[in-house]
Symmetry: C2
Subunit: 204 residues, 2 copies
């Protein structure tokens, strides 16, 4: 693999990684989950503390209970916040995802951080890079995924559902499954619109 080939292949994965909120009724093998989590734990973390913990949930009732937390937070605060901010198609997609679509994925990975292996101030910078590796690896093996944090609105309940001890904080929930339909490329502004030279305001 030359460096250029490596970059092109990486970019192909990065460009096709996109939030999936509707899943096919198809199983996901442990082996694929393991590959995605192996990628996740190679991410950087403060002091190389590797504070991540992953709880892989397949049980239907537990997935439904986690999904109920998502739906409750969405209905209590999220939808009102997003209405008028999101394009109608995206709002409808998020709405369907948070009221059942995501919880219907065959696997929900609850991502947490053990604060004994990292300061609270560095939890986010130490865990979200691992989550991104997880999403990219899932994409590369053909699985749909999404980065969701809304269930952590009810952290105490989420913690109880998967038995997290006090020192382990829930950070995100990532569904994994076969996408119900092919997802197009993500819509993003060109990087040059948000890149500056030397000082903010001198656009690239």
């Amino acid at each position: 693999m030359t460096e250029t080939d490596g970059f092109d292949d990486l970019l192909a994965v990065i460009r096709s990684q996109r939030a999936c909120r509707v899943f096919a009724d198809a199983p996901v093998a442990d082996e694929l989950i393991g590959r995605a989590l192996d990628a996740a734990v190679h991410a950087p973390s403060a002091e190389n503390g590797q504070p991540w913990e992953f709880v892989v949930v397949r049980d239907a009732q537990r997935r439904a209970d986690i999904g109920a937390l998502m739906a409750r937070a969405w209905e209590a605060h999220g939808r009102a916040h997003s209405e008028g901010r999101l394009a109608p198609a995206l709002l409808a997609d998020v709405d369907a995802g948070l009221t059942g679509g995501i919880a219907a994925a065959p696997v929900l990975v609850v991502v947490a951080a053990d604060t004994r292996r990292g300061l609270r101030a560095t939890v986010a910078s130490s865990v979200f890079p691992a989550v991104q590796n997880l999403l990219l690896a899932a994409t590369a093996v053909g699985l749909g995924s999404a980065l969701t944090t809304i269930a952590t609105t009810y952290a105490a309940e989420l913690r109880e559902l998967v038995g997290l001890p006090d020192e382990v904080e829930p950070v995100a929930v990532v569904p994994l499954g076969v996408p119900a339909r092919r997802l197009g490329p993500p819509r993003r502004d060109p990087f040059g619109e948000h890149t500056h030279r030397e000082r903010y305001g001198i656009l690239w």
Copy 2:
């Protein structure tokens, strides 16, 4: 590209991405920086708000000033916290990096979040995935990089150095440059040691 090939190439990049804190005296073309930032902006973000802003700093004085913030935070709090927690070789590497090595990279990318495009509560989950894409893309094009957040200890001063308006929060500083020496693979615990089935404590 088959799905398996895509995964293997991705994993090769993920496994070789590692914090670089000593850089060669060699230039970095704008084109490589652009490729890395293009990868960055394809990351997911809350409501697809894409709150990231990147300030690419090449000016030697400005890099030294940012480096001075890192050194000050390290000497005031960081080193005392890390002593006894890090293995001696890693501590020496971090120490050298935060007292000049990182600032000597030809490029420092100040990563920030525009809070007008995302709630403060979702800044971290919306920006660190983009930073991880940046690190992976840098690795794939042969550049050394590192995820650092210590300069944000003095956020007001960092903000002033690169002219960030009040609504734009500095989040991280990523050096980019040719590594001074070849980095070995990162040391990580196997994912199975931090992965559980259904409930925390039932190890994978």
